[in-house]
Point group: C2
Chain length 440, copies 2
């Protein structure tokens, strides 16, 4: 006998968790579609050179890779951005620009497992490719707001920054070539504090203490958006590129407000940098106000050139990625998930075998009226059937024996309230029952 | 520069194909849920011994397999049945029986590629585990009917058989131990014809010509369900086990009719066998009447014991698998897919940059009314914007310049009909516009 088990770092999704997870994916699809983002899908397996082309050493090590039967070096995708870059390079001639896509799919990383982190998880990405317009940036903020709100969150914060501000400041300090290491250090500010960040900047980016201090003065600008926008020109010392970056960030902020994103959910945070070195413009992170500790649940930004490794066509764009499985895991830990493990509200007890066809017709009628209905599969005593209904979390059980069928009615038991009602019903006139069941 | 390409046998899904594909998956989910089937998900990667435990040599060869960083032998799932068996063995204590699940997910097979066949494809399975009740069998037929109908098909045929009939007949002929090779040969009847099937039966199953002829006499029973049920007792020569199998098949057929499955879609076909040797009861195949050549698009049946390799618990069940990607590929080949490549019906032209915030507010208002809306991302001339709208397949373009905004109206262009209408609109009173756009 083989021991049934999953691989380390992998997990099964049972119905009680899979139902809300699936609902969340569907909600995300609906939000993306409402903004005109179209779905795509790409293979899980790619030529290894596609996947390793852009990655850092760290990412490369995490790729699940092997030789297939045809001796090709292949790998499982570790994110949805690299496949998008390959996809765009290959198909943009057919697709045209601007191109707006979303992609909801699992990715794999053979990283060391920590609490709540898995080696297989779903990413939920959206991107607008082929335009440098600020409107696309504004829309990305509106999508994130709508996404989290539709998923049922109210208290969350979208932090916005524009990398151009820091890039300009660094250029003004004569440090244009140090942007990446400075950004990497700055990204740790929230975690390791100001002092250590400054020390790391000096050592890792090889800049002077004064230069590091100037960078951190920028990161120190906190307050309301209005206050920050008032401070920034001073801190960036009149640098022209920084000024343009500030103007664009302000315009994006104002556009997001015009698009209906509540100001309480918007924060300007010039200290966030996002480690990935391909972001070149606006960047954002999103935290749940009551669960800040799980980190950003939706992050992204603007990049200059998506697919430079695969095509000469210049493809600027903007996008973000929702950490859907991270949200699911957090909700699971916090017992925020509903308890039901059936997607149908109604269970018909299989009470009297001679009425099998009546149960079948009743179920078909209820489903036709949009009411999900399960028939208990075996003609058993009522006790075990009702126990099953309770455990699964059905809303109603319908009980109909010979007496009920002869009297043209059925008994509806509201399971949580433990209340029973007799409702008129015949196969030809199910309306009284469907109305009753649909009332909730 | 790295050449952007997919692996042989793999494909990208562009929006025009991915949109209907995604819609089909969602339709399938809704049908499954309406019958009380709950979703689960399992890892793509499993311990290799789990995957190879039950497979045939042929299947084993097709598994994408490798050693992971922890030197574990792992493989990518090649179907959803083996993972279900492992899942059930592991979790059935928590889940309880009966357990009804669906699973919509990709699987991988490194087989030689043929036209329209890929090495990665989505399967769409549903199963009821832990009951031998005929009601579950009837329900499976009702699910298949509802599934295909909801996917937009009208002319299709669900062929039903019960393996017990043949098993009984073979037992009567003293051939109980030859069931599997006889079934394998019989499964080829439609493809290779009667004569070759008989010859193969004789050679592969090592039975006599007379015994093969008796088996084929059973397969010869064709006609209406009523005619076939009248013929079968004769052909099975009063064998008791066969008689039980016939009675159950008849009861399932009648139950399916009671559940509302149109008789024109139901066929009794005692010649179908389904190669897999774990089916032990009712089996079904589904063909599209106008596309018989693509083979069965939804097949399955009843099995005695799902998870015998992983647990001592006896788990009978019934299920079927919809070949969703095979349907998508067929519809693509036949040009049956809609042509749009945007999921939003409305595009707002970005006509006048000074009204950016008005466009943003307009779009938010339309989305709030449930109308998917994209703003063209760049303030460009109208020509290219309308060309983009046409190519993507938007239904409406909304055009509003300074004149329109001052007159509290917008111009709505119905793109296919090339008709324009001026519709009243202000941000505070969008109803005239939302009603107009939602009218279709």
């Amino acid at each position: 006998m083989i021991q049934p088990r999953t691989l380390k770092g992998f997990r099964d999704y049972l119905p009680d968790v899979m139902m809300p997870r699936e609902q969340m994916m569907q909600t995300a699809r609906e939000v993306f579609r409402s903004f005109g983002f179209a779905p795509i899908d790409t293979p899980v397996l790619e030529h290894l050179e596609i996947l390793t082309g852009k990655g850092s050493d760290e990412t490369d090590r995490q790729i699940y890779r092997f030789q297939d039967n045809g001796k090709r070096d292949v790998g499982m995708r570790f994110d949805l951005t690299v496949p998008l870059a390959r996809f765009a390079a290959q198909h943009i001639g057919t697709l045209g620009t601007p191109f707006k896509r979303y992609h909801i799919a699992p990715v794999w990383r053979g990283e060391n497992t920590q609490a709540g982190r898995y080696r297989e998880f779903v990413q939920c990405d959206f991107d607008t490719i082929g335009t440098e317009s600020e409107l696309a940036d504004i829309e990305a903020v509106a999508v994130i707001n709508q996404l989290l709100a539709a998923l049922g969150f109210d208290a969350f914060t979208i932090s916005l920054n524009n990398r151009v501000i820091l890039t300009g400041l660094l250029a003004g300090l004569g440090l244009a070539d140090r942007t990446v290491p400075v950004l990497r250090s700055l990204d740790k500010l929230a975690k390791i504090g100001r002092e250590k960040t400054q020390a790391e900047m000096v050592s890792a980016a090889e800049i002077s203490d004064e230069q590091a201090a100037a960078v951190l003065r920028l990161a120190d600008c906190t307050g309301t958006p209005e206050e920050i926008f008032a401070m920034l020109p001073d801190v960036t010392a009149g640098n022209e590129q920084a000024a343009q970056g500030i103007a664009r960030l302000k315009s994006i902020y104002e556009g997001a407000v015009a698009a209906g994103v509540p100001t309480r959910r918007l924060k300007i945070d010039v200290s966030i940098a996002r480690g990935l070195d391909y972001y070149t413009g606006v960047i954002f992170e999103t935290t749940l106000d009551d669960l800040v500790e799980i980190g950003s649940v939706c992050s992204g930004g603007r990049y200059d050139n998506l697919a430079g490794l695969y095509t000469k066509q210049h493809l600027p764009g903007i996008g973000a990625s929702l950490g859907l499985d991270r949200l699911v895991a957090a909700m699971e830990t916090l017992n925020l998930l509903p308890k039901a493990s059936t997607p149908a509200p109604v269970m018909i007890a299989y009470f009297d075998e001679s009425h099998r066809d009546d149960y079948l017709k009743l179920a078909t009628n209820l489903r036709s009226a949009g009411i999900g209905t399960e028939i208990y599969p075996e003609p058993k005593k009522l006790g075990p059937q009702l126990k099953y209904a309770d455990q699964k979390g059905f809303t109603y059980a319908i009980i109909a024996g010979d007496n009920e069928w002869q009297a043209n009615k059925v008994q509806v038991k509201a399971l949580a309230a433990k209340e029973s009602s007799d409702i008129e019903y015949t196969h030809d006139a199910p309306e009284a029952l469907t109305k009753f069941l649909a009332a909730d």
